[in-house]
């Protein structure tokens, strides 16, 4: 039996699943027939879980129970300024969880962010299994290169909750490079420019003889298509406020409609020179008359609204080139990833910056999932046609005396890697050392993200500077960090696996996994019951006709009538497929009997 593994692009706005079948990578269409699934989750009035296009369609009428853009929040703590900003702009409720983490509320129930991602993953997982027709458990999930340790860990947790065996977390630009690189044999240096729904990543890679060597990677986790949408929304809100003196931002339903209209306008402007935005009955004025929003947006106007965002991406590209120690002229090809790269202004800016036209024949929405699927297949079957040499996206180190950030593993170090530095005590008779593990790019310790804090104790009392403690950072191929402190005198060791200090505890993950699995099982059972019920309905109808057209003995006709009554009441709430099957069997027997005796 062929083993399969999934490649999943878990995006901010859209997700996508791919698989390698008979050596060919392909995207699997979802239940609605689309190749990408909006990363939107909702709980309907009935308590049913809605995902993707279904969730998106009802987002306007069910704004507070529909969550999206959760990738912006995953792996962050509640105090994070970005989370605070999301609390102001997103229509659903964001609250603090038990570990200072972020939870979202739908239908009075709190969900952790890995749970939300797990719902999307489960949906994609199911779609793939239905397509292949056998269980698939292994998957590679992609994350933006710029994701830090906590965000990667939260993504792995999401996979676990969805019941997936996450083989590896790989970076989106690297995945795109694999998908591109398998089409070419040449030795070349490429840039992967990924402007997605919520994040921007740029990576410079050297592809040589099957080895994908990431030279540098950088990006901005808060720059993406949604910022472009927001510029349009702000523009429209301002127009409306000028005209009617009403602030639409206070109405979540109006904002949802604006959001959808803005996204559509943005996409249309990639093809058309201007679009008309019509939102009738968007608001009622104080005197009770209905107000409509009518506006025309030209491509030029739109480009003016967002030109600074595009310039920001180019500045980041410049940094990536410098980190990789190459110049624009060394770049042989630019691979564009993410729906935003369809915008003519973005394409023009990129070609001008890199002095080369972007690679053709690449679908920016699908290339990441395709690359992940290729890599998953490689790992599974040990083809090892290519090997990935990825890098750490951020500086890793510890806080040292004076509040400074001491870097132990600099950014853009090839992983897996291991770096160590020897530290010494700073006071006389110091017996313990507080170690604060940081990730970030600021020289002041406090400005970076704290990955873990631990105390290394049992140091021999001695004058300051006499005892040496070696601190080692190990980063594995997933980008997950382990820190070891060792007393060089006694060889005593303290190992801290950062991965275990992530937001969710193992118990929580297990519980969430069970809840998700139970929900999916009951959904499946319900679906089966509905199918059987539909079948039963036909049988009952057939039996009714028979009873009416045949004159039957009283004993038989009373039995048949009870049977019909039982079946009718069972069909009112079809939840037990087993009972329905028994009934259906009885009815079919009865039909058979009557037909034979007639």
């Amino acid at each position: 039996m062929t083993e399969y593994a999934l490649g999943i692009d878990l995006g901010t706005t859209n997700s996508c699943v791919a698989i390698v079948e008979n050596g060919k990578p392909m995207i699997i269409a979802n239940k609605s027939g689309y190749l990408t699934t909006p990363s939107i989750v909702a709980i309907a009035e009935s308590g049913k879980r809605l995902i993707g296009q279904l969730a998106k369609r009802q987002a306007i009428t069910n704004a507070t129970n529909t969550v999206y853009s959760t990738k912006r929040l995953i792996g962050r703590s509640i105090g994070d300024p970005e989370v605070q900003e999301c609390m102001n702009t997103l229509p659903f409720e964001i609250v603090e969880g038990p570990h200072e983490d972020v939870r979202v509320k739908m239908k009075d129930k709190l969900y952790s962010l890995p749970e939300i991602s797990a719902m999307i993953l489960s949906e994609l997982h199911q779609v793939a299994e239905d397509y292949i027709g056998e269980p698939i458990n292994q998957a590679i999930i992609t994350v933006p290169a710029y994701f830090n340790d906590a965000q990667r860990q939260a993504t792995i947790d999401a996979g676990k909750i969805a019941g997936l065996d996450v083989m590896r977390i790989i970076n989106e630009p690297t995945a795109a490079a694999i998908a591109y690189g398998t089409q070419t044999k040449k030795r070349q240096t490429i840039a992967v420019f990924d402007l997605g729904g919520g994040t921007f990543d740029i990576s410079i890679l050297a592809i040589d003889d099957g080895v994908f060597n990431v030279l540098s990677t950088t990006g901005d986790t808060f720059l993406g298509g949604e910022d472009f949408d927001n510029r349009i929304i702000e523009h429209l809100v301002l127009l409306f406020a000028r005209e009617h003196n009403i602030d639409l931002r206070e109405d979540p339903m109006a904002m949802q409609r604006l959001k959808i209209a803005a996204e559509k306008a943005k996409c249309d402007l990639s093809q058309l020179p201007s679009v008309e935005i019509n939102l009738p009955f968007i608001q009622t004025s104080s005197d009770g008359t209905a107000l409509h929003l009518n506006a025309i947006l030209t491509r030029d106007e739109f480009e003016n609204l967002v030109i600074d965002l595009v310039k920001r991406t180019l500045k980041i590209c410049q940094v990536a080139l410098m980190d990789a120690n190459v110049t624009q002229n060394d770049i042989d090809e630019v691979v564009l990833v993410g729906g935003m790269t369809r915008m003519p202004l973005v394409q023009m800016a990129v070609s001008e910056f890199f002095h080369t036209n972007p690679a053709k024949n690449i679908n920016p929405d699908e290339v990441v999932a395709i690359g992940a699927a290729i890599q998953a297949d490689e790992l599974l079957h040990q083809g090892m046609q290519h090997i990935l040499l990825d890098v750490t996206p951020l500086d890793l180190g510890i806080a040292v005396h004076g509040g400074n950030f001491f870097v132990i593993t600099p950014k853009n170090t090839t992983i897996p890697c291991s770096n160590s530095t020897v530290f010494t005590t700073s006071f006389d008779n110091q017996t313990s050392l507080k170690i604060v593990v940081l990730q970030g790019e600021h020289t002041v310790a406090n400005d970076n993200q704290v990955l873990a804090e631990f105390t290394f104790s049992g140091i021999r009392p001695a004058p300051a500077g006499e005892v040496d403690v070696e601190i080692t950072f190990d980063v594995d191929a997933d980008g997950i960090v382990n820190v070891t402190a060792r007393d060089l005198e006694t060889q005593k060791e303290h190992v801290v696996s950062i991965s275990r200090s992530s937001n969710l505890t193992q118990e929580e993950i297990d519980r969430m996994f069970k809840e998700n699995a139970d929900y999916l099982a009951s959904e499946k059972l319900g679906e089966e019951a509905r199918n059987v019920a539909a079948h039963l309905k036909n049988d009952v109808q057939a039996l009714r006709t028979l009873v009416q057209t045949h004159s039957l003995p009283d004993s038989i006709s009373s039995y048949v009538l009870t049977l019909i009554k039982k079946a009718t009441s069972a069909m009112e709430s079809p939840d037990d497929p087993q009972m329905l099957k028994v009934l259906s069997n009885d009815i079919e027997n009865a039909i058979h009997l009557i037909e034979e005796s007639a």
Partner: protein
Amino acid sequence: MAEGLNVDAQAIARRCTVKSPDYDQLTPLDWVVLDFTDGLRTFESMLSFIPVTKSDLAASFIHLRLLGFLTWNSSDKSDVQAARNQTANTHEPQSSYSGYVPSGMSQSPRSQSSGGISSLSSAGVSLEPAIGSFTDEICFQYLPQRLMNSFRRFQPTLVDSTLDLSIEMQYFTEYLHQNLASLSPYDLLGLTEGQCTKADVRQAYLLRTKQFHPDRYFRKNIGPFAPRIAAIFKAVTGAFTTLQSKLKS
């Protein structure tokens, strides 16, 4: 696809007449191994009637390989050749043994057999399980000449033929890992100081990447070799980074 070892009859014959210094290096165990090599016996079955430890036997196999008395009878010979050709552009094979093994000469050992050597010539000890092909074959070539002697004398302790890792890679991995501290960046990449360009360094690093990147053994049962392979990869990456910046200036 069983891989096996063949006795290189011509090489032995040549050394029986022309006294080769390598000939003196054969240990009594090496002779025993050659005696029992009959083309059918596996590594495990040999172990059952030669009263030595697994690691001694493995060491003997490797020595015979290095001296050119045994060659692979691999069904993937074409891969080996391709890999050789690919790397030949930038590197001359550096090990002495490769000179005794002209390509393709071990394809039909039976027809070459004659006289007293015939019992040795029908070789084909199967060394299973073995994964990969070409990197195992050429790993020895990427050891600098000055280390060859210590490599030949090395006695492995970890050899376990039940792992998903060829005996050769096990031997090579244990050797490198045990000597990590004393190997220079050049040694790690199999280069000689002052005789390589920046491109050579890059080429050598790509090869080492294919040998030692942990992904190559993803979820394979390689037992105690997993942490060693990871450590070697990290050291090799460090060596590459060092040499890249050194050769730039």
